[in-house]
């Protein structure tokens, strides 16, 4: 009996530790779930192992209720880890509830007066979840080029993880490392730790059939989304070699490379087999940024040399040396252009990268608020600069949240208005010249312009005496502090408004436009330049200052007679082909003195597109130039109307105008 007592004590200690582990893992899963991520296989697996151990031990010490509850949990986790049950919110809830049950049941053992909660409801719910047929794994297990010897020792879970990774088209590597017998445990643990950032360790198998005199050889099967074979890593073991046994995207087996083990003696032979495997290099984006900056500076130097050449030719007259110089310079210019082009290409990644994340998020939100949504995506392959892609993710996420929350109606409302019960959201990307357009469209209720108007009046953003065009009304939704939603929902009503979206897009030199059709839906289109780093700009002079205006937002430049400029309600306008164009003088915006001028005409640069455009009054246009935009840093970075600074070839630094912001300010001022 005494033996039984001490066993029970052992059990309680172990069970407490296990429940602690379960709690931690559930917490990880919940936060992944909140971020719209798939649960990590490793977390599910350690959860399974913990509950599995608990079940075994509880059964052995005769604690039937605890054993059966953990048994149910184990069944559920077993299906999850083997891909036989889909992950969703209710699974997470069930697991959390069951864990609370485990804890309560354990606590009641140490304090017998405590009432034991009834576990039957949660157990029944788990049973119900598991009642359906388990999802089937693909009949033929994909095993690729993995050594059959290794497959023999795979547990069901390991086989499943291998198959999953191959299905996803990940790289599968076999790493062989030899460790000294007296320290292999520490060394192996270090190697596994080193692998972690790159991928998933599926198994590590101590090799057989070899004398242990030279140490112990491990074969480690690794799955990795990215190619990590060329990483410069000082591995913990001796003679470590990695071979790729399944290439990414290759689901069918590739001839397994099986170097004879006895040959793994010198490193030269090793590198031979490593070199042949893959042709991809992973590069830190910061290194590409640096290269891009260097190219940018080369471009600038090139234009300076051009100016010098021009001056020399003007001074000394045209000679054969001058001609050669000019020709070589043109040639060099062409090569620099190619260099720049190729470098931009290297930085391009498909927008599909973030689309995946967004689709997951839509599914999650749709579940959370019980609004069925179909998301349709197109143009995932459209390429954009990597930094741009990351920067656009949050604004897109916000627009989509808005669309689901405010745009789409409830299924009942949709049925009443004769629409399909399930709402649709379209996420599209496509290229248009030097721009990429990303659209978020829903087939929901559209934006009620009357409500927008009311709200704008309420918030004193609009002038009740004035008439507003639909276009002008829509623009109110991008103003800070504006929200037409009657209720603040958990989803999109969290303080971050469309004004932040517009601001973030403008920071990327992009623009956002809205088209809404009341009752039928709303479309947000975002126009972005393909890359941010080098752009062509118009160099203009305003007063004594020189500025750069990104050329992609300039539609034309005009010479306007001062007498053609009219004043309406204190704003300056000019008639352009039958339309009224609002004019903006930067000196007024930046509160600088306007030098009196004797000129009778001025230059007007038309910026923006369609109905959202203004004319910028400038004193002189100096020409076009390629510029490299640099940020102004944290202190000056938030200046209205300034996107950054750039260097001109002559070592002069000038400011780059933030066109989208200027338009915003000018149009607001007019209202």
């Amino acid at each position: 009996m005494k033996k039984q007592d001490s066993l029970l004590k052992d059990f309680i200690v172990e069970a407490e530790e296990i429940i602690e582990t379960v709690d931690q893992n559930l917490y990880l899963l919940a936060s992944e779930n909140n971020n719209g991520e798939e649960p990590s296989p490793s977390v599910i697996h350690s959860l399974f192992r913990a509950v599995h151990t608990l079940k075994g031990s509880a059964g052995m010490v005769g604690l039937t209720p605890l054993a059966s509850l953990s048994h149910r949990m184990e069944d559920m986790l077993d299906r999850l880890r083997l891909g036989k049950l889909n992950w969703n919110n209710s699974v997470l809830e069930l697991l959390t509830e069951a864990t609370n049950g485990l804890r309560a049941s354990l606590q009641s053992m140490s304090s017998p007066d405590q009432k034991i909660a009834d576990m039957t409801p949660v157990m029944n719910r788990i049973e119900k979840t598991l009642a359906g047929e388990p999802l089937q794994e693909d009949a033929a297990l994909i095993t690729g080029g993995v050594d059959p010897e290794i497959l023999k020792t795979f547990t069901e879970y390991e086989s499943h993880r291998l198959a999953e990774n191959m299905k996803k088209g990940h790289h599968i590597y076999e790493m062989r490392a030899r460790y000294k017998l007296d320290s292999f445990d520490v060394d192996l643990a270090r190697t596994l730790e080193q692998i972690k950032p790159f991928g998933e360790v599926i198994t590590s198998l101590p090799a057989t059939g070899l004398s242990l005199d030279a140490g112990i050889l491990f074969k480690i099967i690794i799955a990795s989304k990215e190619d990590f074979i060329h990483q410069e890593i000082k591995w913990a073991g001796e003679h470590t070699q990695i071979i790729e046994i399944v290439q990414a995207g290759d689901q069918t087996s590739r001839q397994a490379e099986k170097p004879v083990l006895s040959q793994i003696n010198n490193n030269e032979e090793l590198s031979d087999s490593i070199r042949s495997v893959t042709q991809t290099v992973r590069v830190d984006i910061a290194k590409l940024d640096m290269l891009m900056n260097i190219v940018g500076e080369l471009v600038l130097s090139k234009s300076v040399i051009h100016q010098i050449a021009k001056a020399l030719i003007e001074k000394n007259g045209y000679s054969s040396v001058g001609a050669d110089f000019q020709k070589t310079l043109d040639n060099m210019g062409k090569k620099i252009g190619e260099l720049q082009e190729n470098l931009i290409q290297v930085r391009m990644t498909p927008v599909g990268q973030i689309f995946d994340r967004l689709v997951r998020m839509v599914k999650k939100i749709s579940r959370e608020i019980n609004k069925p949504v179909n998301i349709h995506i197109s143009g995932e392959e459209t390429a954009l600069d990597k930094t741009m892609i990351e920067a656009i993710a949050d604004p897109l996420m916000h627009l989509i949240r808005n669309a689901i929350d405010h745009g789409l109606e409830t299924p009942e409302e949709r049925t009443r208005s004769g629409k399909s019960e399930v709402g649709n959201i379209y996420l599209r990307a496509f290229s248009k010249g030097n721009h990429v357009l990303i659209e978020v469209e829903d087939d929901g209720q559209g934006i009620e312009l009357q409500a927008v108007y009311q709200k704008a009046i309420e918030k004193k953003l609009a002038d009740a005496r004035r008439e507003y065009s639909p276009k002008e009304l829509i623009d109110f939704i991008f103003l800070p502090g504006f929200s037409t939603s009657k209720k603040v929902s958990d989803l999109s009503g969290r303080g971050v408004g469309l004004d932040v979206v517009a601001k973030n897009i403008s920071k990327l030199s992009g623009m956002v436009e809205v088209i809404t059709d009341p009752g039928r839906g709303t479309k947000f289109s975002i126009t972005l330049p393909i890359t941010l780093i080098i752009i062509r700009a118009l160099i203009v002079k305003i007063g004594t200052e020189t500025y750069a205006v990104p050329l992609n937002s300039v539609s034309e430049s005009l010479i306007v007679d001062l007498k053609d400029i009219q004043s309406i309600d204190q704003r300056k306008v000019v008639q352009l082909r039958g339309h009224t164009l609002s004019l903006l003088r930067l000196e007024e915006l930046f509160h600088m003195n306007t030098p009196s001028s004797s000129e009778t005409s001025c230059y007007v640069i038309v910026i923006g597109s369609a109905e959202k455009r203004i004319g910028l009054i400038v004193d002189d246009i100096e020409g076009q130039q390629e510029i490299v935009i640099k940020t102004l840093g944290n202190i000056l970075g938030s200046l209205t109307g300034i996107a950054g600074a750039c260097e001109l070839g002559n070592k002069k630094t000038i400011l780059v105008l933030d066109v989208a912001m200027l338009i915003e300010v000018a149009l607001k001022k007019n209202k």
Partner: protein, 125 residues
């Protein structure tokens, strides 16, 4: 001389249950480790007469322990008993084909463990 048994099991309750059951048998003593890696470290340090191993363990699983033992001449002759759950049927089959002598499914009655140990050891005597 007592027969030495290496017990590989990550659950402390299960481990101590196995250990007490084995030591209940006359003429047996145990060495306990928590996982496959510790087992591999322990193996060369002394001569074992029997190994009892769990299957689901991180990094080096029980099947890999069986394969390692059977793949090295100096350990080959040590019989192995694998312990798994009823869901682990496929794994038990793999373990047996890799050379494990017998198996037990959890939860088991200590008497059953004793019987299996005796069966395996007698088969070798």
């Amino acid at each position: 001389m007592n027969k030495k048994v290496l017990v590989i099991e990550d659950s402390s309750t299960m481990r101590s249950l196995i250990v007490t059951t084995v030591e209940d048998l006359k003429g047996f003593e145990t060495v306990e480790v928590k996982n496959g890696i510790e087992a591999l470290k322990m193996l060369p340090t002394q001569k074992f007469d029997l190994i009892i191993t769990d299957i689901n363990m991180p990094n080096i699983n029980g099947l890999e322990v069986v394969s390692f033992v059977k793949g090295h001449p100096q350990y080959q002759s040590i019989p192995l008993i694998i312990v798994s759950t009823e869901q682990g049927e496929k794994e038990i089959q793999k373990g047996l084909s890799l050379g494990a002598s017998d198996y037990l499914t959890k939860p088991f009655h200590p008497e059953n463990l004793k019987k299996v140990i005796q069966k395996v050891m007698n088969g070798r005597a």
